[in-house]
């Protein structure tokens, strides 16, 4: 084989502020034209590795390096020098647009190379053509959909024709359907340009949807495995470090079917299923008792009732919501799904009173909420924003959670009791005297949930509670919400996450273009490609597995899967 284009030799890196190295003794060779997936839980060192590749480490974020890193046979000299060889597509596309129009943004790299305008325009057209972004070169990147933004940011890197492309969690901000398209797009780019591709991602199944040469698994700063997708999907290593195995692999092992790497389990399309395997799956589905449904209570005793709700943005005159009707019973855990801009967040804002409805009414326990102020509504319905850093405003945990009570003039001894009780519920009692800055992202999320809970609301609305979380933290947060739900808190989740819908919410409200398109049990949506498409979700691999095994009603397999839920 030819020379490696990237080579780590006994590479160790330690951040200045850290006591221990974040990357330990890395040995890794990546060859020209390879397509590599680097996976691992949060804090495993995979993002640090990506910063080493594009030069942000050590040039912008210094630390101690041992061993050697060679890129194209040379030691990295600067961020700029590396940017000629490695193009980086960063995770959050919103945070990196600098151009006023998509075309200008794509050209940014060339502008900085002081390329003459004529040549620049031609290169921009080529790059935009490669990713299919020609139609919106003149549009502002901020106004594009999630998938379009991703295309523009990819074109902005491709424009310089770097031989290595580094994708840092490319799927994190995308809904499942768009994520699937993005995976396909990366694959196409590689076929057209022959570039070496490195994808850093923890959503394993979504990346493996297209061919990958090697999967490098990280945990605790070390490489723990370097193998093919076929080997890794059936190994026990994924579960051990908290990475989600593909759903179809989990379903198969629940049904007692265990495949080996030679059956090509890396992709469902290539997986070799024998007739015996299929029969096992069918038997498993047939023998699973189906849990009874409990959607009768909802209409009789609604906790929250939305009637003919409508809203138009005053600034733009755009209709955000139109004639929305549904109700929520006490103790439900329901998901609100739909593409970006479908009206999901607007609905939440109307319920908690941040925006005023244009038409229709919202009832809480049968009484209209019209005339209730935002703080009054907060005592009935708690709202947790997506980004905890946007909510937390006190340096100490106790003060942070006590804030809502203090401004309400509640006596200090009672505040102490209530804050302590909430901290216990949220599993934060150990941290009562801690500064917020010492907490992890997931713990901060819990603090913001505690902020809302301390006012003792009946309903909790959470905006993308698991966004950007790896499987372990995702499970933590969701199990916590389930425990709250069991205590009687009604939970409304605004989300893109298919697994969340499937595993935790029984019911989904699907929004599209300002309308409530569908109100249905989640297992039905996720086992029906057409319904899933409407929700900008996609059918899970369980649907395809059911088809392969000759099960006509995919829903039964999905339900069998959920009822046999053990953490894998």
């Amino acid at each position: 084989m030819n020379e490696p284009i990237i080579e780590f030799k006994n590479f160790t890196f330690q951040y200045r502020a850290q006591k221990k190295p974040t990357l330990v003794d890395i040995n890794l060779r990546i060859f020209k034209g390879e397509k590599i997936l680097i996976a691992g839980p949060s804090g495993s060192g995979k993002s640090t590795l990506s910063s080493c590749l594009n030069g942000l480490i050590p040039f912008n974020n210094p630390g101690k390096i041992e061993g050697e890193l060679l890129i194209s046979g040379k030691k990295p000299d600067s961020v700029f020098g590396l940017s000629k060889i490695i193009g980086t597509v960063l995770q959050d596309t919103d945070g990196q647009f600098v151009g006023l129009s998509s075309g200008e943004d794509i050209a940014f790299l060339l502008e900085n190379l002081a390329m003459p305008q004529e040549e620049m325009k031609e290169r921009v057209l080529n790059a935009a053509g490669l990713v299919g972004a020609l139609d919106y070169l003149k549009h502002s990147p901020q106004r594009l959909s999630g998938g379009q933004k991703q295309r523009v940011s990819m074109a902005g890197v491709l424009v310089d024709e770097a031989p290595i492309l580094l994708f840092d969690e490319p799927l994190a901000a995308l809904d499942p359907l768009t994520g699937k398209l993005a995976t396909a797009l990366i694959d196409d780019i590689q076929k057209k340009t022959g570039a070496t591709i490195i994808i850093i991602e923890h959503r394993l199944e979504d990346v493996l949807y297209r061919h990958i040469d090697r999967v490098i698994l990280f945990d605790n700063g070390r490489i723990i495995s370097d193998s093919s997708p076929d080997e890794i999907t059936v190994s026990n290593q994924l579960a051990a470090i908290g990475i989600r195995r593909p759903l179809y692999i989990n379903a198969l092992s629940k049904a007692g079917v265990n495949k080996s790497p030679k059956d090509k389990p890396g992709q469902l399309e290539t997986l070799n299923l024998t007739e015996e395997d299929k029969a096992k799956v069918r038997n498993w589905v047939a023998s699973s008792p189906l849990a009874p449904r409990d959607d009768v209570m909802r209409e009789a005793y609604p906790l929250l009732q939305i009637k003919n709700l409508g809203f138009t943005y005053p600034e733009t005159g755009l209709k955000a919501l139109e004639n929305i009707n549904f109700s929520l019973a006490n103790g439900e855990m329901t998901a609100i799904v739909g593409a970006n801009g479908a009206g999901k967040s607007t609905l939440a804002k109307l319920i908690v009173g941040f925006e005023k409805e244009e038409s229709g009414e919202i009832f809480y326990r049968g009484e209209s909420m019209e005339g209730l102020t935002i703080p009054e509504r907060a005592e009935r319905i708690g709202y947790v924003m997506q980004n905890p850093n946007q909510m937390i405003c006190k340096p100490l945990i106790f003060d942070e959670i006590a804030l809502g009570l203090r401004v309400r003039g509640i006596p200090e001894p009672e505040i102490k009791d209530r804050v302590e009780a909430v901290l216990k519920v949220c599993g934060l009692e150990r941290f009562i005297k801690w500064p917020i800055s010492a907490l992890s992202y997931g713990q901060k999320k819990r603090v913001t949930i505690a902020d809302a809970l301390v006012l003792e609301p009946q309903i909790l609305i959470l905006d993308e509670p698991t966004a950007g979380q790896d499987y372990r933290h995702y499970t933590d947060i969701m199990e916590f919400l389930t425990s709250l739900n069991r205590r009687g808190v009604t939970v409304l989740l605004i989300t893109h996450d298919m697994h969340l819908c499937l595993e935790y919410a029984k019911r989904a409200l699907v929004f599209g273009a300002g309308q409530l398109l569908l109100d249905s049990p989640t297992d039905e949506i996720l086992s029906d490609p057409e319904l899933a498409l409407k929700a900008s979700l996609r059918e899970t691999s369980l649907y395809e597995l059911a088809r392969l095994c000759g099960i006509s009603d995919a829903k039964t397999l999905v339900r069998a899967y959920l009822d046999n839920k053990t953490n894998l």
Partner: protein, 275 residues
């Protein structure tokens, strides 16, 4: 959701079609021209020119309501302060004293003083429309390239245009955070006493600063990864070539400065004296 703010107004007008650089030069030239002279005739002429430009730019008055009110209030205060601290400035300048009313031992309404303050006011009315036209008809990215065109370092120019670009983002974040804090019961409305309102605003600024810091680090990394700052110069994708209109406007701006200088000769100084 778009939050309305003071900024670029896209429209198709001859002024919009001018390059940012020539508009910047025009604004600077007219400012200099009206700054240096107190010749009332020239100032009135400059006001007419800037109103004509405003008309050509197809901007609407309500689009500048915010800054206009701010400037008018400022102008009003400015006038009061001049009167309070230098009630006889006009007498000193024009060398005569025509008293109209007597107010107190220190203060009188004097024709010369009124005339002087009228000139100050006229200056505002001559410069403000031109400056507003520049801001409102220049795309933020051209804004940067036009600063760069008059030899301002492109990094500094880009920093200015980026901060203008991110104002709406910061406003949106402020609004979201303030809503979340209101839900917890923090009152920043006019109903609350001043001290509580200030405390409330602090609970919004804390998360706003921290979440903005994250964003700043992110964008500066993203820019550097795409080679920003690598070379001493850069080119501009959206830069436009100078057209006939640009040369005309720069020529006229030069002429305005020249006329303004001529008034010095005619008046024998900065002031035109009718008394």
């Amino acid at each position: 959701m778009v939050i309305k703010m003071f900024g670029y107004v896209p429209r198709n007008s001859p002024i919009h079609r001018l390059t940012g650089a020539s508009k910047l030069i025009m604004t600077l030239a007219l400012s200099v021209a009206t700054m240096i002279t107190f010749d009332t005739r020239f100032l009135v002429f400059a006001i007419i020119v800037s109103l004509v430009l405003f008309r050509i730019s197809k901007l609407r008055l309500k689009e500048l309501k915010g800054p206009l009110i701010f400037i008018l209030v400022f102008l009003f205060i400015n006038n009061i302060v001049i009167f309070l601290f230098a009630p006889e400035q006009g007498v000193f300048i024009y060398g005569s004293r025509h008293e109209l009313f007597h107010l107190s031992t220190r203060y009188s309404i004097i024709a010369e003083q009124l005339f002087y303050q009228l000139n100050v006011t006229l200056k505002y009315f001559a410069i403000v429309p031109v400056a507003l036209i520049f801001f409102l008809t220049t795309e933020p990215s051209e804004f940067a390239s036009s600063l760069n065109a008059i030899r301002i370092n492109y990094k500094a120019a880009y920093a200015v245009s980026l901060s203008l670009r991110y104002i709406p983002d910061v406003q949106r974040a402020y609004r979201e955070i303030s809503q979340a804090q209101q839900a917890r019961g923090v009152d920043i409305s006019k109903k609350a006493p001043l001290r509580r309102r200030l405390a409330g605003v602090l609970t919004i600024l804390f998360p706003l600063v921290f979440s903005s810091m994250d964003k700043i680090e992110q964008i500066s990394n993203a820019m550097e990864l795409r080679g920003f700052g690598r070379l001493g110069k850069r080119t501009w994708y959206s830069a436009r070539r100078f057209m006939k209109g640009d040369y005309i406007i720069i020529g006229l701006s030069g002429l305005a400065v020249l006329i303004s200088l001529l008034t010095f000769l005619v008046n024998g100084g900065r002031f035109y004296n009718p008394f």
